[in-house]
């Protein structure tokens, strides 16, 4: 097909070929179907990406169930997790309702639905922030800000003196991070019991354990410590791995929620401008699909992370 005929076709079809319909499509419906297939392929890659994290989760949980039970029951707040589940499901409903409103050209309903969805997303992030904040206060954040990290030899060393010596005598001593170790450090690699915890989390922010009590988990430090000491030596080493997995999974999911908030805000702007009609609502439809996927991932994350025995 030459350029001349393309131009001619465009011009001659000007009346019944609306501006939103690309001319390689016959009907708006065909265009919408094609766009949705593309979105579903993208969602498939999203499932694969999260699949890697679910794989890490499965292997660690299957091999070390006691670690997961200890960490989840001691530090994750089931009530906040359940609240977030309800919030996300509700925002999924308002999003689906929004798509319906866009299809039926109910602009006011669409805008209300998008605002409610955005509020749900923001509410989810607020609850998530409360949870992450509690982890920070309890020194179970990521890396060195986690008191169970291998470098912090005995996480309870600063509490009322428990058994002297580390619980990890049979295991190789972890190499100290180079930036904190002086050249002639007598402790290096010889006597584990003399190694001070590298980092016990932020000081002066909160009393350790206060957060979990305030958040209503009902565990106190003594209970957690007793349970921690009842783990096998090797399992004690693995507790921080749970938090790595927890923060990676919920963090990547939270990132998706933030991206979703940006996309929904953009939808809100465009629908307020009146860009969508019953023949062209593809952006609402596709972002709706994305938003439902975010909900879908959480539907699995909630029981897998919070409801562990």
């Amino acid at each position: 097909m030459s350029t001349a005929t393309t131009e001619e076709t465009t011009q001659s079809h000007g009346a019944d070929h609306p501006p939103f319909l690309a001319h390689h499509f016959d009907t708006p419906e065909q265009q919408n179907t094609a766009a949705k297939l593309g979105m579903w392929v993208f969602l498939g890659t999203e499932v694969l990406m999260f699949g890697g994290l679910f794989c890490a989760y499965s292997i660690f949980r299957h091999n070390h169930p006691a670690v997961f039970a200890f960490a989840a029951e001691s530090y994750l707040n089931v009530k906040l997790g359940a609240l977030n589940t309800i919030i996300l499901i509700t925002s999924s409903l308002t999003m689906a309702w929004g798509v319906r409103a866009a299809q039926l050209e109910q602009r006011k309903t669409l805008i209300i639905c998008l605002i409610l969805t955005l509020m749900g997303a923001a509410g989810f992030m607020v609850v998530k922030t409360i949870e992450y904040n509690a982890k920070w206060d309890e020194h179970v954040f990521v890396g060195f800000v986690n008191k169970y990290n291998g470098y912090n030899v005995d996480p309870y060393a600063q509490l009322p003196p428990a058994q002297p010596g580390p619980p990890t005598s049979e295991l190789p001593i972890p190499p100290s991070p180079p930036f904190k170790q002086s050249a002639g450090d007598a402790n290096a690699g010889s006597d584990v019991s003399k190694i001070q915890p590298r980092f016990n989390g932020p000081t002066g922010l909160a009393v350790p354990g206060a957060a979990s009590e305030a958040a209503g988990i009902g565990n106190n430090d003594a209970q957690i410590e007793a349970r921690y000491r009842s783990l096998s030596d090797q399992d004690q080493w693995r507790v921080s791995t749970f938090f790595s997995i927890y923060f990676l999974m919920t963090g990547l999911h939270g990132l998706h929620v933030l991206v979703g908030m940006g996309l929904i805000s953009w939808l809100l702007y465009r629908s307020a401008r009146g860009d969508f009609n019953s023949q062209w609502y593809t952006p609402v439809d596709l972002i709706g699909l994305y938003w439902h996927l975010v909900d879908l991932i959480w539907i699995f994350l909630f029981p897998l992370l919070y409801l562990i025995h």
Binding site: T27, W40, G52
Partner: protein, 123 residues
Amino acid sequence: MSTPATQTSHADHGHGGVHPAGHVTSVRLLLTVYFTLVIFTIITYSVSRLDLGQFNIIAALAIAVIKASLVVLYFMHLRWDSPFNALALITAITFVALFIGLALLDSVSYQPLLKQTPAALGP
């Protein structure tokens, strides 16, 4: 142009003359799915309070799969969509299942060996 639009929207009458380029889900169905999801969330929370041993994780995953199916079929319109869209999703899920299944199989097979020699473990 109007024929396919009319066909796809016949499930939900009374659109006030609008013929959307795709299937429209009724409010009633959306609300039914929503409340079912809420009820399943309550059920999964309650079941997790009971100690069922191995069945806790099975029950939790079964409920999660049911909830996910409801979201995919109704909120995500897959029930009325082209089967190609379902194919994209099913392919992804199949490969995730293969990935996790084979990785677990591998890991499980050498766990007994590792437990015999704890010194080889490391952190």
